[in-house]
Symmetry: D2
Subunit: 386 residues, 4 copies
Amino acid sequence: MSKRKLKMGMIGGGPGSFIGAIHRIAANMDGQIELVAGAFSSDPAKSKQAGEELFLAADRVYNSYDEMFEKEKALPEGERIDFVSIVTPNHVHFDPAMKALDHGFHLVLDKPMTLTLDEAKQLHAKVKESGKLFCLTHTYTGYPMVKEAKQLIAKGELGRIRQVYVEYPQGWLAEMLESENNKQASWRTDPSKSGKAGAMGDIGTHAFNLAEYITGLKITKLCADINIQVEGRKLDDDGNVLLKFDNGASGVLIATQTATGAENNINIKVYGEKGGLEWQQEDANSLVIRNHNKPDHILRAGTPYLHDYAQANTRTPAGHPEGYLEAFANLYRNFARTLHAQMNGQQAEEAWKDFPGAEDGLRGMAFVHHVIESGKSDQKWTDFTV
Amino acid sequence: MSKRKLKMGMIGGGPGSFIGAIHRIAANMDGQIELVAGAFSSDPAKSKQAGEELFLAADRVYNSYDEMFEKEKALPEGERIDFVSIVTPNHVHFDPAMKALDHGFHLVLDKPMTLTLDEAKQLHAKVKESGKLFCLTHTYTGYPMVKEAKQLIAKGELGRIRQVYVEYPQGWLAEMLESENNKQASWRTDPSKSGKAGAMGDIGTHAFNLAEYITGLKITKLCADINIQVEGRKLDDDGNVLLKFDNGASGVLIATQTATGAENNINIKVYGEKGGLEWQQEDANSLVIRNHNKPDHILRAGTPYLHDYAQANTRTPAGHPEGYLEAFANLYRNFARTLHAQMNGQQAEEAWKDFPGAEDGLRGMAFVHHVIESGKSDQKWTDFTV
Amino acid sequence: MSKRKLKMGMIGGGPGSFIGAIHRIAANMDGQIELVAGAFSSDPAKSKQAGEELFLAADRVYNSYDEMFEKEKALPEGERIDFVSIVTPNHVHFDPAMKALDHGFHLVLDKPMTLTLDEAKQLHAKVKESGKLFCLTHTYTGYPMVKEAKQLIAKGELGRIRQVYVEYPQGWLAEMLESENNKQASWRTDPSKSGKAGAMGDIGTHAFNLAEYITGLKITKLCADINIQVEGRKLDDDGNVLLKFDNGASGVLIATQTATGAENNINIKVYGEKGGLEWQQEDANSLVIRNHNKPDHILRAGTPYLHDYAQANTRTPAGHPEGYLEAFANLYRNFARTLHAQMNGQQAEEAWKDFPGAEDGLRGMAFVHHVIESGKSDQKWTDFTV
Amino acid sequence: MSKRKLKMGMIGGGPGSFIGAIHRIAANMDGQIELVAGAFSSDPAKSKQAGEELFLAADRVYNSYDEMFEKEKALPEGERIDFVSIVTPNHVHFDPAMKALDHGFHLVLDKPMTLTLDEAKQLHAKVKESGKLFCLTHTYTGYPMVKEAKQLIAKGELGRIRQVYVEYPQGWLAEMLESENNKQASWRTDPSKSGKAGAMGDIGTHAFNLAEYITGLKITKLCADINIQVEGRKLDDDGNVLLKFDNGASGVLIATQTATGAENNINIKVYGEKGGLEWQQEDANSLVIRNHNKPDHILRAGTPYLHDYAQANTRTPAGHPEGYLEAFANLYRNFARTLHAQMNGQQAEEAWKDFPGAEDGLRGMAFVHHVIESGKSDQKWTDFTV
């Protein structure tokens, strides 16, 4: 361990931001990271207000990310920020991300990676070229029981995978919130800020990422039914997708933001030749294992019998429920542990390096592209290429 | 009420039959029906054995259904059977069903209706023409909370329906049971006995029926991915289907018999503009109602606040769980109550007449036909016609 | 098997009876028993009405149980009733039960056994002396997963038992229903009809019986807090009891009928040195097994891995939920199977003979006696003697 | 808000401490507090090691709490610590707590308050006299749905409370861990470090506090069965307690650390004349409301329909589960918000001031005293006095 906390600068996350506050809690939680600088809003007054509320030194609250990159870069190592966290809407991902890397900062970026697939390809290339550490915040991969599921499958405990069902049901866009001046709704349903997809970009990408993460498989083709359920909306708010995976497995992905009354219970079921598993965010600390003609097993977070990834991603013993914020914090903690190791010339543990990166981001944007194209097509299957 | 129990003759359900025993329990439960005759097997010795175990008079245990029809018809009314219950594999549905009606008997028939869509059309016409009472045993429509769901939606409490998700996951065919001399597996995976579909005919039809029953909507097109997961099997054992309904709603139907470790938890979620509902067989006495920005409500069987259909289809107060056999018995009890009323020249209550009939059977066979055709097609959507 | 169904005569269960209808469904379900006679009410007109609705021959519907015993006894064996089922309120248990045995009939009796402990002792002695088969309908012991729990503990899989928690929460008496002419409430809260206990007799005895049945242990002392929560009520409607068992285990029994909004979710948790188990009626087909530093296991009814008692007490494969009526029917089916075996000079299987008998009834009445006495005592522990 | 974070000094929480790490996460999470000093262990080398791992300045890692108090007090306001957090075993609560107050520091203290009731009385008096802010970390009162339960009852939505059932089942002491050199087990089972109670002090006090917190009632008498389930242990590891409350309500408290396989699912059920509520930590974001002859309602954390306390104690919208660490962080955040307000001469909101204080600590120690005395008594009821 280095002798100091890692220093973070934030882009976005000003007054009224949902995800900015989440990122800060996640970064704070484990005492590995301190927020020291920020360009919290494109409106300098709002950026200043945020900086004050966050107890930042006034001279490190910037009017723009360009200013932040320049001034921070000029500070001595150890004082300047080590990495940047970008928590803006989708249309303000690409430019600051490219510039952060250009200025030599490591990078945490909210999903989806960019506004377009083309931007994603460029950013993916830039990350590889830069050698900087990059984390894309696909929160759900941070849950310990999701990691346990991944490791169980990787070790062959379910046998060859046959079926993958992943659902992400939300209901908060069941009404036309974007016409009621709701900030969260407005940018997410605006093609210029959200990209070519609405629900499929916002939450479909999480479901897609979760399915590939847990199974270790890659989707090779898909067939999508993409809908606008609320009249007048400009982007999809609902969709159902048939999936094929590279080992021949079949699957279904459901992502909707208009399932009235649904909260956020992303869930996945995977079945293989030898058994199945089921995980849902509402019961995040349990992993149900289905066995053929034998009792189900319920694996629980915080227990001694789990594999190393799950062990490395809990803070409390069994029965002290950790949740969404801890899953998010696991991304930051693993990013920080890996970066600390790198800075100290040490080897990071495998479990620490297990956070989503540029490859995940690129595949996510390919998903957005193909799923929307398939939705418009009369042909059943659309090939999934990157 | 007439002064006597209704008299039932059974076709099929001999030694080793699963569903025959279920039908008998369902018919027995409420003391409205007595089993007095049967042709329980195509093997006369087995039919005789079954008759003895069931305490039947020896002269009313027949060697064939043809013999049963003839001899029972010759008995005086009040002594002869009032109706026939057919519980054979699919390929022995059409012939005895047509003959039962020709001989003037009312009819209970296990699902799916017939081996082919063409047979279903003929039987459907024959039922209409005969004026006899006909019940197709789509068990899951017999659950009180399924009926409550139907009535809530019919009364508009969810508003216009937008999404329908129905799943029927089983795992018992995860291995090649048909090569192990398993009677249940063997006929279900044999096209000459099961028809053109395996899982889609056996359980997909239940899921299809449940979706149309609860929502009151009709499917207008579908897009199917139909799979054989176990190598060497002759019929589908897994499939995922995108759905469109006649009001524009979208949906997904999943039916699989190879989800290793899954039991039989058929479940459905329906969301409308104003709210959603969720039902699953494993928690059959609850109906979850999702509300927008208001608490979920959990409706429970046996309570005084339910609508009339649910009230008419429970036997116990809340907290005394009824299950699969009671749901099945509700079909028989409603059939019996309606038949009793008809025989006594009375009006049956609406709630009693709410059991699946020939129209459901015909649509189920159309589902089997279209879903298999769609599975072979490169075109995304296949129209659902009857 | 004998060549005929067993013939049952019923005492009580006329119009408005809850439990009478339940007993008939339970007796009907498996086709082993036919109801052929009855004295359904102390009001002959009501008895007649019940007989008609149940399709009985008019000459076997009696004005009193005395008449039934006399006339049925006079019928030839094979035509007359084989056994009597008594489903009246508690104060009409003792007299007909004693007379049934005196007239040579086998006996099914609703719980609790009698009005007083003294009556219970006499009836217990009479059962032993008569050699007749006797079943007391403690329903919850009929559940397959309750039987599995019993066998697991008997085989030592939990090690020495340390803690037993049993709860029976109901809320239907949360208001003063007995002043609203509610038949079920009225007799249960009337000391002359219910005995010295209200809730403790009606449902506390079930909880007591379940705890002793599952653990195989006997309660040796108890300490009770007995309450009347609804002002003006004459008998206890709520109580909490500390327990000690004959192996040194501790426990708690909670039985209340004034837990507003509670339905009927009787549940039990047992922990031993090596593991624990939990069962609740609302999820009756599951048995949760707790393990030390190993995953929980969920055992499910209808699976092939259960012990013989559970296997013998299900009718359907896993995932087809059976409930309260099937648990009740298991008592009747096991009684009938054992009686059939006895009549045919055969050995009944152990699993068939596993239904509650006179010993359970006597201990239940001792529980009623001691728990009420303890409730009045200032001394902590009251010895449990019979 | 003041222009800076609050500065915290920690006592205890060195290498191997469970609860120290929890306190730090809770203090970090919301960015209101920074850990700047500590006396992490009575072993100076261990204290130093902890300080380094926590990135503290070397000159603010102390060899003893006495040293910390003295040196910190000498620092200028704004630089020195604002408050102390004590996370040591019970026998090291009283002395540092008294001294912290004497030195003018505000105080967060882990539960139970002290080793003895007498110490608790002194500390309680000292807190009152000092006027310093004091928080006792009864974690479970920090859950938003626990706060919602409290407010619902306070507003009379359940009517007069009749029954209170609170359970705290753990299984981690099912074996003799203290003889295996387990640090957590060793001090908790040692009377010189834990006090006169084992399980009743460690977790019984949480259950006691939760019951009084939610209901707003006070316990007036109790009847305890206190057990040592593991042979050779020196303190209770299991117990069951009958309760009476000051409004006449009855209750049961169960606390055990030897329920093999149980994790940490503290739970409470409260029933009143008009309805009931149920909360369990394993499903911490739900609050079940039971209604008489109406559907159950499921209230959910993060929704707009909750009362102000719950609203003020969540960070995420519904469906993003918060857990144990957020509940703990709510104590620190509310303490910090209140302290900030006080330092700035502002009024703290009611919801912020809702954290456990010296009165709760004193009553908790009275509970420990009376419950152990009752366990030894032959008399049924023991008065609960303070």
